[in-house]
């Protein structure tokens, strides 16, 4: 214990210091060579004006003498320039977005008016951002990279991930919650290709690894490029981290020219895309009676006819009715508004000159929840989620060959909302409201005569048996009063990430032609904290009621000291702090030798994350990665391309022997249409290219254990390993727990990937990309299954055993046509089909062939095969026994009858089998159409998924039974569809939507098993978004001195087509969760 922890990170500050010294020196150095003397000769003074075709003056165009890039000038705000050059010098005039032009200045001709032509980008010249932010001409791409146009990701929602589905071939995405701030979509590149620990892609924003949340908060207006790297060749440089694909985003940089201001304002209104249809209170009571008696006729009637009549009177607001004694509460309506609003605004300024260019952007989003406010309460508990962002990207040309890029960004979120149990925003209130009985108690009582001086709200409830009342912060009774839980307190959280990034680009052409260096230093700091304050509500129930006078008294239920308080109690919430440091250095070499072009790249990276709030020593140690990667390419006549990549990566989590992994890939492409034999085809097939790649990529996020090669032993564990002795148990020791055994052999998960692609341009305007791929993932970390419990091991033993196979197709097409009258049309569509299966899983030797995972699709559900409902009790008794869990009761008529697959006379785990499609869709598609005419534009985008299944979660939607979530207590409300169509003595439909009712989990335990009864197709198609825009006419804009101004109206999740009608199919099995939102939005976008 006397050795100190090794200080291995001390080099880092030194490095940073040196880097800054370096920058300083470069600045000094830069001054020196901007004063280089020009070549000699008879000088002429050339003057001119540069405009675009519309006659507007171009500010910041560069004018350089040919071959002398280090000299030259730029045009001023009036498009004018002046330069002294030797007579006969050819001057190159260039400006971003326009074609280069050249003029020859002589003593005779030294005044020019230059009209720049807008550069028309041909597909082959499109630039694609690939690994480590390298920009490559699309033509030269060998790997599988899909770029999404940032504007396609612009949807009226504050979450970027919600826009991903159907936008790019190769992404499988779906969104299973609509709750603001918690509504990240799940997304996978080319589907789920492993059954290991981390299945989602690596996310890099400006080359720095960040989380899904960071991606979700990114402002679309700030995005310069959005690429998805899919195959081995594209991801190889990320070596051990790229096996699940990579999402690469870069933010905008400033361009030379006068300051451009872009601002956008949006105001949205959102509402549930589909609302749950719950049954009315009277039906609820009648069904509750039915559910009780159908299981046990000896039980007393929970709601007698008198009570039902009185509740009906309340609903009718009949004279003499009393809504407090006989309540009928619409909890959802009580807690939630129908719609809410969201505001978003962002502004950016960009511009710059020859020395420095800047892009500065700020944004503010506010998402309001849909909770109601109550006048009786001074806590404003409605959800308010605010996000601020500031981003500043500055490019400084220190010298003609040295560029320094400084990127500073801050992302700040503030949340205020009700005190909830699940750490979420309001999902649990939604669950509570859907799991609260409408007739047991009212939300609150007005003060009766005995309580006139009471200061607190008299919340309704029923005495419960939560005997931890004095400890439990959330629930005090058997029955949650959702209204009390809404009002009782609030939770605040604050989240921020500050990122500082310094990049250095140095061109070494002066030393070696074609050599350049690129370096990045990034650090970001993340912090999150939360605070909660709330009182413990006072619960009351009706004590006595006099029907004649319609007067009642209330009883205070939770009199146990400290179980009800009028004052707020404060509880600190979770805090989460971490720091991240990243260093990258790369050397690039690219040179053309006639028809031959070679390039190579070598990249060194290292990164470190440290968590402040680690719960154990090992988790407090820095998380590190070290990587060396390289790429070499060769191309001939821009027709044949060959590429070799490798990643050589180290992760601190493995033993020294397995610490580094080598992941090589090879790829090639061939542009057929460059060949002369293609000429006859060219009129139809404008362009054709095939490409292929093959190689290995790795994944080091293979398990939750921190260091696989070390044992993880808690020498002061407490809880289940502690023991105490003495007269009052006064002497205790915490004991030892082995969390993990050491395993020196654990290593990378590896993916062997093969990709084939065909790119076609048909009739100039239709571009098609089709790809097929095959991945074989192996060394997936998996628990050993041959070790019996008699070995007494406290922790599971894992090994790199598993393997998974996946294959699929990505298809995309886009089309654009402009007509002479100014009408333009464009269409795009894409489709991703991704299938996978367990190729090898270590499994025991089951006697039943249907139990093996090997060969099954990943994420495919399994359960019992439901045949139908039992005809009657006699049939249920004479059938194979179906008793589930040791709490279960035997089934009766109207309960689900399962198939006895192994014919052993009982239904048990041996009869479980796989069914349906996987829960992650195998097919995701999207297609859209846009059109514009004069100042109007219109677009619509459809998105859908297919080959997906889900199980309705019967434990959460079954009427009357409590939810399995510990914080949700009470009786589940009844879906109207279940009320209308369930098995009962009067409706003995063997295929009813819902089987025989029951009021407890144990008496419906037969029906809440996962089975084909609850299996549904998750396929749907929706009109995901639709937008109408109007751009103000140019003449008007000119007078207002505005470059561009567009108003638009759009909507999200507007129409959904699905065979499943109970709730939005994208929510999956739990329909009683916060619904996906339908949004209507108006916005304005102005460029100054």
């Amino acid at each position: 214990m006397n050795k100190k922890i090794k200080q291995t990170g001390t080099l880092l500050p030194v490095l940073i210091l040196r880097l800054f010294t370096l920058v300083f020196l470069l600045i000094i150095g830069g001054k020196v060579f901007s004063q280089e003397t020009p070549s000699t000769g008879a000088k002429v003074t050339v003057t001119g004006v540069i405009t675009d075709s519309a006659g507007r003056k171009i500010d910041g165009a560069s004018i350089t003498p040919e071959g002398k890039k280090k000299t030259g000038t730029t045009s001023d705000a009036f498009g004018r320039f002046i330069i002294d050059v030797p007579s006969g010098t050819r001057l190159i005039i260039s400006y971003v977005g326009f074609s280069e032009q050249s003029i020859v200045a002589t003593a005779e001709r030294k005044e020019f008016t230059i009209v720049m032509k807008i550069l028309e980008i041909k597909p082959a010249e499109e630039v694609v951002v690939t690994a480590y932010g390298k920009k490559q001409r699309k033509e030269a791409i060998v790997g599988s990279v899909t770029s999404i146009k940032p504007e396609d990701l612009k949807i009226p929602a504050s979450n970027l991930t919600n826009a991903l589905a159907g936008q790019a071939a190769g992404i499988i995405a779906y969104q299973s919650s609509g709750q603001p701030g918690q509504d990240n979509a799940s997304f996978f590149i080319r589907g789920v290709t492993t059954f290991g620990y981390k299945r989602d892609p690596l996310i890099l924003i400006d080359n720095v690894e960040l989380s899904t949340n960071d991606l979700a908060r990114l402002q679309v207006d700030d995005i310069a490029s959005f690429s998805i790297l899919k195959d081995a060749s594209a991801t190889a440089l990320y070596g051990a981290r790229g096996a699940n694909g990579v999402i690469l985003v870069s933010t905008k940089e400033g361009k030379m020219g006068k300051a451009k201001i872009n601002f956008r304002l949006e105001n949205s209104s959102s509402q549930s895309a589909k609302t749950l249809q719950l049954t009315d209170p009277i039906t609820y009571m009648n069904l509750y009676n039915e559910a009780t008696l159908t299981r046990d006729p000896t039980q007393p009637l929970p709601f007698n006819p008198d009570r039902i009549t009185n509740v009906q009177a309340t609903i009718n607001n009949a004279p003499g009715s009393n809504k407090y004694v006989y309540p009928a509460v619409d909890w959802l309506g009580m807690l939630f508004k129908n719609r809410t609003s969201t505001q978003r605004g962002d502004v950016s300024v960009s511009g710059g000159g020859g020395v420095a260019r800047y892009y500065v952007a700020g944004s503010y989003n506010v998402d309001n929840g849909i909770l109601r406010r109550d006048a009786a309460n001074n806590n404003n508990n409605n959800v308010k989620f605010e996000n601020y962002q500031l981003r500043s990207n500055v490019n400084i040309s220190l010298t003609k060959s040295t560029e320094l890029v400084v990127r500073l960004s801050g992302n700040f979120s503030e949340y205020n909302g009700p005190l909830t149990a699940d750490g979420g925003f309001s999902t649990d209130l939604y669950s509570m409201a859907t799991h609260a009985s409408p007739v047991l108690f009212p939300a609150y009582y007005p003060a009766d005569s005995a309580n006139l001086k009471t200061q607190h709200i008299l919340f309704g409830s029923v005495a419960g048996n939560n005997f931890n009342a004095d400890k439990d912060y959330v629930a005090y009774s058997n029955y949650n009063n959702p209204y009390a839980l809404l009002l009782r307190g609030h939770k605040n959280s604050s989240e921020s990430r500050m990122s500082a990034q310094l990049e250095l680009n140095q061109n070494f052409s002066s030393l070696v032609d074609g050599l350049s260096f690129h370096g990045i230093f990034n650090t970001n700091r993340y912090s999150y904290f939360q605070s909660n304050s709330g009182y413990r509500p006072f619960y009351y129930n009706v004590g006595s009621y006099d029907k004649k006078t319609n007067a009642y008294t209330v009883n205070w239920l939770n009199q146990v000291p400290n179980s009800a308080t009028e004052y707020l109690e404060y509880t600190p919430g979770a805090t989460n702090i971490n720091t991240f440091i990243y260093l990258q250095g790369s050397l690039d070499y690219a040179k053309r030798f006639g028809d031959h072009f070679i390039s190579s790249t070598a990249i060194v990276t290292r990164q470190q994350t440290v968590y402040a709030n680690a719960t154990s020593l090992v988790n407090s140690l820095p998380y590190r990665n070290l990587g060396l990667a390289g790429r070499a390419t060769y191309s001939f006549k821009s027709r044949y391309f060959l590429e070799f990549n490798f990643g050589y990566n180290g992760s601190e989590r493995f033993s020294a022997a397995h610490r580094y992994g080598f992941f090589p890939t090879i790829g090639a492409s061939y542009v057929l249409s460059e060949e002369s034999f293609w000429d006859p085809l060219r009129t139809v097939l404008t362009r054709a290219k095939i490409r292929a790649s093959h190689g290995l990529v790795g994944n080091d996020a293979i398990g939750s254990q921190r260091f696989f090669y070390l044992s993880d032993v808690n020498l002061n564990n407490g809880g289940s390993t502690s023991a105490s002795f003495g007269t009052n148990g006064g002497y205790s020791r915490n004991g030892v727990r082995i969390n993990n055994y050491p395993n020196e052999d654990v290593t990378w998960e590896t993916s062997k990937q093969t990709n084939l692609a065909l790119e076609l341009t048909v009739l100039k305007n239709l571009n098609i990309v089709a790809e097929i791929y095959k991945n074989h993932r192996y060394n997936i970390l998996q628990a050993r299954t041959y070790i019996p419990s008699t070995s007494g091991q406290e922790a599971t033993i894992y090994a790199n055993l598993g393997a998974a196979d996946s294959k699929g197709i990505d298809l995309s097409a886009d089309y654009k046509q402009t007509f002479h009258n100014g009408l333009w049309l464009s269409g795009r569509g894409n489709l991703t089909l991704a299938t996978n299966k367990y190729a090898y899983v270590e499994e025991p030797k089951y006697a039943e062939s249907w139990r093996y995972f090997t060969g099954q699709k990943i994420n495919r559900g399994y359960g019992y095969i439901a045949e139908r409902l039992f005809v009657d009790d006699a049939e249920a008794q004479s059938s194979p026994t179906q008793i589930f869990s040791t709490n279960g009761a035997a089934p009766k008529g109207g309960d689900i009858k399962y198939r006895d697959l192994n014919h052993d006379g009982k239904i048990d785990v041996l009869d479980l089998t796989f069914m349906g499609f996987p829960s992650v869709p195998e097919l995701v598609y999207g297609f859209g159409l846009s059109a514009g005419f004069k100042n109007f534009d219109l677009s619509a985008f459809f998105q859908g998924q297919a080959r997906v299944s889900f199980f309705i979660d019967p434990t959460r939607v079954s009427p009357f039974v409590p939810s399995p979530d510990w914080w949700v207590t009470g009786n589940t409300q009844v879906l109207k569809a279940f009320a209308d169509d369930h098995w009962s003595e009067n409706n003995q439909n063997l295929y009813a939507l819902y089987p025989r009712l029951g009021t407890t989990n144990s008496n419906i335990s037969n029906n809440i098993q996962q089975s084909s009864w609850w299996l549904r197709s998750g396929s749907f198609m929706r009109l995901k978004s639709m937008e109408v825009g109007y751009t103000l006419p140019r003449s008007l804009l000119k007078r207002m001195k505005i470059d561009n101004c567009r108003f638009y109206f759009n909507g999200l999740n507007l129409i959904t087509w699905s065979a499943f009608k109970l709730w939005d199919p994208e929510l999956g099995g739990n329909g009683f969760a916060y619904p996906i939102q339908k949004v209507f939005n108006v916005g304005v976008n102005v460029n100054l």
Binding site: T8, L11, A469, Q559, E652, F725, N734, G735, A847, T886
Partner: protein, 635 residues
């Protein structure tokens, strides 16, 4: 220009020149198992780790002796599930091999993973020589304690599964598939192994706890000897000793796992072990407990003293309970399941007291009459009229509420009935009222009665409460104030009866057998066996035959140790549980508020308990993983 370039190359070197140590982030002193034995203090921590599983066994809801005894019924239709119901539901026929309740083989369904506990003991024994500062005396004691624990965990498994795998040495983590596929060992081998370990432990265990404030609960010699007596008695009992139901039951290699024929000698070994344990216990000052009222209780009638003696023999603090051989340090959780609502405040606070534990009529009828004989044998009591209504009077003042109408069966019963059972009209000394003339009592008829069913969650489904499990000073009124106690594993009274049982099996009725039964009966305020039966029984010669006396001893043991998680095990080893559970378990008609309607027996559970349920199933997955294991008979 040149200098700039140099700086950039330098930067590249700095960035790229990967320091070899960059990924070596783990410091040398990351805790591994070696650190658990660096010194005495750490080793003591590990000793406690070995004890920890034992202390977890205090949860009666996971104890088959409690949950499958028929003494307590736990409703299985509750909306909330504060307890693991797996154990209680076994008698409902819900046990499965696919997912067994009370799975102590793997840990699951409420059960503790006992093989893990055994592995911990082996780790302790493998490493005990490492701490340099551990003195030899203390080391000897710790080794003995660890051996006891290892033996007890094996015994617990043996009691549930019969022939089990013996894990005397740990297998290495990287053992091959063939090595880890252990076999089950024959019953006799298992018992011999357990007894050998216990003998090794007994030699080195301390005779008593010197420092009670710190060490009470650690294993002593008399605890180990008493456990040895129980192990040998269990091995001699009909379930394991020549049980014809398991005849010829073999593993895949032909090894016979159960002894083919009964061996009477086993009873002799058991009797000797009982005698030795009793001698050691008495030498250490243990004696049957008698209640002495504290200063604040000024007057207390003898009949209530008897009741409190019987209650407190279980619920008294360990250090004050002279007959407690062994309990676990953890307290008994669940007094709130046992106390009926007796005040209106208690009704208002009914949330804090669910009172689920319901006693069936058959258990209430097990207790003797005040003459000390079974109610159906008593020639003075009137067994056939036991459900006739009768109103409390002066004669029954301390037992039945005066003037309250209940049934005849609640009158003229032995003190243990009144100490064990809370019933409609029954008096309840304690619960906040220590005045014997102003006692609280139970009103249980109908929903409006204080103790009656309030809703599904708050009801006692039979109308009988296990009163003995609540300390008389525990108050359930305006809130719940516990007086904690520890559930005994062994009491001297139980050991006496065990000795009587084994002696009777060895040689039939002898004076010594009567002596040890009568010690227990006398303390309960009853006449001796011979006197009681000859005077009051319709079968006066019953105690004179081996069979008759066996029945008497079995019933005596069930009465004396009622609700103490013993009879579930006893009835198994006697092979009597199937008979006990072949009749419906009944309660009163709890929703009726008129006595005439209330006292109609209603079936609450129709138990399902087959021959196969005497032993627990090994989870079927385990047999797939280790094909050297064979499933228990009939599963």
């Amino acid at each position: 220009m040149r200098s700039t370039t140099n700086y950039i190359f330098l930067a590249v070197l700095l960035l790229g020149g990967s320091c070899k140590k960059y990924l070596d982030v783990t410091p040398d002193n990351v805790g591994t198992l070696d650190y658990a034995f660096r010194n005495r203090n750490e080793a003591e921590n590990y000793l406690f780790t070995c004890y920890s599983t034992l202390q977890s066994l205090n949860d009666v809801s996971a104890n088959a002796g409690f949950t499958t005894s028929s003494e307590i019924i736990y409703p299985n239709d509750l909306q909330q599930h504060p307890l693991n119901e797996a154990g209680f539901n076994i008698i409902r026929g819900l046990q499965t091999a696919g997912s067994p309740g009370l799975n102590f083989w793997d840990g699951g369904g409420g059960g503790q993973p006992l093989f893990q506990a055994i592995r911990k003991c082996n780790i302790m024994l493998e490493n005990i020589d490492k701490p340099a500062d551990l003195g030899s005396v203390e080391k000897k004691r710790w080794v003995a304690e660890t051996k006891f624990l290892k033996a007890y965990y094996h015994y617990y498994l043996f009691r549930m599964y019969g022939p089990i795998a013996i894990v005397d040495k740990n297998l290495p983590i990287n053992a091959t598939a063939a090595e880890v596929r252990v076999k089950r060992q024959p019953v006799d081998t298992v018992v011999n192994y357990i007894v050998r370990l216990l003998d090794e432990a007994i030699a080195d265990l301390p005779p008593s706890i010197v420092n009670q404030a710190r060490d009470l609960g650690r294993i002593t010699k008399f605890i180990a000897m008493s456990v040895k007596a129980e192990v040998l008695t269990t091995a001699a009992s009909p379930l394991f000793n020549g049980n014809p139901d398991y005849a010829g039951y073999k593993d895949k290699y032909g090894t016979v796992l159960f002894p083919a024929a009964a061996d009477a000698q086993k009873w002799k070994l058991a009797a000797d072990a009982c005698k030795a344990a009793i001698t050691e216990c008495e030498a250490q000052g243990l004696k049957l407990y008698t209640y002495a009222p504290p200063a604040n209780i000024t007057s207390l009638t003898d009949s209530l003293k008897k009741v409190l003696t019987i209650q407190n023999a279980v619920t008294e603090r360990w250090e004050l309970n002279s007959e407690l051989i062994w309990a676990l340090t953890s307290i008994f959780h669940g007094q709130e399941y046992c106390i009926p609502r007796m005040t209106s405040q208690a009704v208002a606070n009914s949330g804090s007291n669910p009172a689920y534990f319901a006693v069936p009529i058959s258990t209430a009828e097990l207790f003797y009459t005040d003459k000390g004989v079974p109610i159906n044998e008593d020639n003075t009591w009137g067994y056939n009229h036991r459900y006739d209504l009768q109103t409390g009077d002066d004669a029954s003042f301390f037992y039945v509420k005066s003037g309250y109408t209940t049934i005849k069966a609640h009158f003229n019963r032995e003190a243990r009935f009144y100490a064990n059972i809370g019933f409609d009209g029954g008096m309840w000394f304690g619960n906040g009222s220590l005045d014997q003339y102003n006692m609280r009592y139970v009103q249980a008829r109908g929903q409006s009665a204080l103790a009656g069913p309030k809703d599904i969650q708050k009801r006692n489904i039979t109308g009988y409460w296990p009163k003995k499990l609540a300390n008389y000073l525990t108050v359930f009124d305006n809130g719940f104030q516990w007086i904690d106690y520890r559930m005994p594993i062994m009491r001297l009274a139980g050991l006496y009866l065990l000795y009587a049982e084994t002696l009777n099996e060895v040689g039939g009725p002898t004076p010594e057998v009567y002596t040890y039964i009568d010690k227990v009966r006398t303390r309960a305020g009853l006449q001796g066996v011979q006197a009681a039966w000859s005077s009051y029984s319709t079968n006066p010669s019953k105690p004179n035959t081996k069979d008759g006396l066996r029945q008497i001893i079995h019933q005596e043991r069930r009465i004396e140790l009622c609700f103490e998680a013993q009879s579930g095990w006893d009835l198994r080893r006697w092979k009597e549980l199937q008979a006990v559970l072949s009749v419906p378990l009944q309660g009163w008609s709890i929703y009726d508020d008129q006595a005439i309607n209330y006292y109609r027996p209603q079936t609450v559970v129709a138990p399902v308990f087959g021959l196969r349920d005497y032993l627990f199933p090994i989870q079927s997955y385990d047999i797939i993983v280790n094909d050297n294991l064979v499933q228990n008979p009939y599963w």
